[in-house]
């Protein structure tokens, strides 16, 4: 049974109020102006103040953005957007199979977090991971080829959508919530090895009710681990809205004794500043910290979910028109002469081309060879014999 019209409307109002905030923050002070023909090299933008829990201060409400970074963020978000849409297309053509959880709408989270941490920091997330796989350094080619199950995929076709890995990126995890203790463990390693690194440990509003997350909160806090627990709250866990799953929807407070921030997840600058703030806190030995990113996914939970049985098309449209993360950044850039319409269009064209080429590769690259079926069961191990489907079938596994 779905929500009544009344509570739907209430929800719409709440959502649009929360997301509307960022739309009006396009006013900026131009810091380094040149002649009107040149673009603004750098501008400062107001970002929404984060709600805090057990914190005496908060991330800054002003964010400095250089033209260079702006273009980089714009391009990266467009790549993720177009890559996810391409995956949608390939899935409908049955070239991608199984699970496919898309993150279009949530681009500001992946790009903003990456902007707030360093490449030497660590990140782990659950299965809505394609965007993070990209921001953590894997090419679109390798991501799409992994989705199509080809040998050129980043996991050689062995993992698929939910199991992509890279340096300092621990996937891609299929079991809801399991990645959170894993992330706390990565943070433990950072502390143990006395590096300056932190681990961004992501989970969704659905996972937020998992017991193991509270176990991880407790140990991370007890041992002061440099772990940024990040809840990507996109309002729905599959078809279950946050109101129906959680006695408390204030996910940034769920860490109880752990300080928390609630962040506008549609504004890449807000995400960036909050992440940087959280990372600095952890690096200073004051971790862990919980960050809730309020965001939204345009697609359903996965490709087998149309996404409209538990929410209205109007709601989705409202978010698209008022709070799209790419549009928000684009409007800011244009309003402050940080780029021209043509320049951004050119980027769009290039991105489209990159995705097309990657898709071309992903659909033409051959599937993994059968000889490699049993490889990598173990790591750094002597070759071993593996039983096949029949008792006399002896397959070979090398690591």
């Amino acid at each position: 049974m779905l929500l009544s019209v009344n509570s739907m409307q209430k929800m719409l109002t709440i959502i649009s109020n929360v997301l509307k905030g960022s739309a009006s923050k396009n006013v900026a002070r131009v810091v380094a102006a040149r002649t009107y023909a040149d673009f603004t090299a750098e501008a400062t933008f107001d970002v929404k103040k984060c709600d805090t829990h057990r914190l005496d201060d908060a991330p800054p409400t002003k964010s400095v953005l250089t033209r260079e970074d702006a273009l980089k963020y714009y391009r990266t978000m467009q790549v993720i957007r177009r890559m996810e849409l391409k995956a949608d297309q390939l899935y409908k053509q049955k070239i991608i199979r199984g699970f496919c959880h898309l993150s279009d709408g949530q681009e500001a989270c992946a790009v903003g977090i990456e902007a707030g941490i360093k490449p030497t920091d660590h990140l782990i997330t659950a299965y809505r991971a394609h965007g993070y796989t990209y921001t953590r350094g894997v090419s679109v080619r390798e991501i799409l080829a992994e989705l199509t199950g080809r040998r050129g995929g980043c996991a050689k076709g062995k993992g698929g959508s939910m199991h992509m890995y890279a340096n300092n990126f621990y996937g891609g995890n299929g079991i809801v919530g399991a990645q959170v203790p894993l992330g706390a463990g990565v943070a433990l390693a950072c502390k143990y090895l006395d590096t300056d690194q932190v681990c961004a440990t992501l989970y969704g509003d659905g996972a937020a009710n998992q017991g193991q997350i509270f176990e991880a909160y407790n140990m991370a806090s007890l041992w002061k681990l440099p772990c940024i627990f990040i809840c990507e709250n996109n309002k729905y866990a599959m078809g279950t809205s946050v109101e129906r799953s959680s006695a408390s929807t204030e996910y940034y407070k769920r860490g109880d004794f752990i300080p928390g921030l609630r962040v506008d997840g549609m504004d890449i600058l807000c995400v960036k500043e909050a992440t940087k703030y959280a990372a600095d806190l952890c690096r200073a030995g004051k971790g862990p910290i919980v960050m809730e990113l309020q965001t939204y996914r345009y697609h359903g939970h996965s490709m087998s979910d149309p996404g409209v049985s538990y929410r209205t098309r109007e709601e989705i449209q409202e978010v698209r028109s008022k709070s799209d993360p790419i549009s928000l950044l684009k409007d800011r850039m244009l309003a402050n002469n940080m780029a021209s319409v043509e320049e951004l269009k050119e980027i769009d064209v290039q991105v489209r081309k990159e995705i097309e080429e990657a898709a071309q590769f992903a659909t033409t690259d051959p599937e993994p060879p059968l000889e490699e079926l049993c490889n990598h069961i173990f790591y750094n191990d002597a070759p071993l014999e593996v039983r096949g489907t029949l008792p006399w079938t002896k397959l070979k596994s090398i690591s």
Partner: protein
Amino acid sequence: MDEELERDERVFLLGEEVAQYDGAYKVSRGLWKKYGDKRIIDTPIAEMGFAGIAVGSAMAGLRPICEFMTFNFSMQAIDQIINSAAKTSYMSAGLQSVPIVFRGPNGHATGVAAQHSQCFAAWYGHCPGLKVLSPWSAEDAKGLLKAAIRDDNPVVFLENELLYGVAFEVSEEAQSKDFVVPIGKAKVERQGTLITLVSHSRYVGHCLDAAAVLAEEGIECEVINLRSIRPLDMETIESSVAKTNHLVTVEGGWPQFGVGAEICARIMEGPALNYLDAPVIRVTGVDIPMPYAKILEEHSVPQIRDIITAVRKALNI
């Protein structure tokens, strides 16, 4: 563990009561005093959480030893062991390794009743991506644990509470700091001619005791200590059966889908079938949850007389 902690800075131990209490079964006695809080970590009672933390730390470059006070509690954490640890190397096509050891007492003790007495050899032995070890002697315990810690893959190390208190003679060689027993190789503990007894953990001792009794009648039993549940050393078993023509398996766990069941299936699929003069006999725990009363408990697990009876049946004497 002490030697491995000393040898490699990345090795550390975590679990309930492992540090200040010196270990629930005193296995980690003295380690916290020597290595301190950083390397010997007391955890709250949160198996799923701390097993996950251990796995994550292994992914990020450390070499954790994760202790379960007993493997019964590992069921709380089994998702982390199987889905986060065992499968990762394969899913990532070798990009991500998980060098971790999960250890603790397995199987029944005495008087601890149903929830604290299960043997997990078959459950963990079922899963690709794991190495599963089951030591019997002190030499096994030391050599296999060192091998497990040095291995770059997830290893489940099934100890036995009742064996903690048993003393074994240890060779000169085994006392060296680099004494490592190869994973995946069974050991012939006793040479024999008439029949092969295969077992793991505590029941190896029972087999040897049974063999001693039978030897008085001139029945010489070959006793094989599996040491490794996964990979299972069928070669050693098959060579032995080729010699003796008879096989009895002995385990503490339940019969259905157990270690003995796997051995039977593989014997039947392999060359040794032609050498068998009688069907394989499996001696196992009784197919019930473990009762508490002493007399009931004693009748729930294999006794030495059961092994002797099985041998006589197989040899038709």
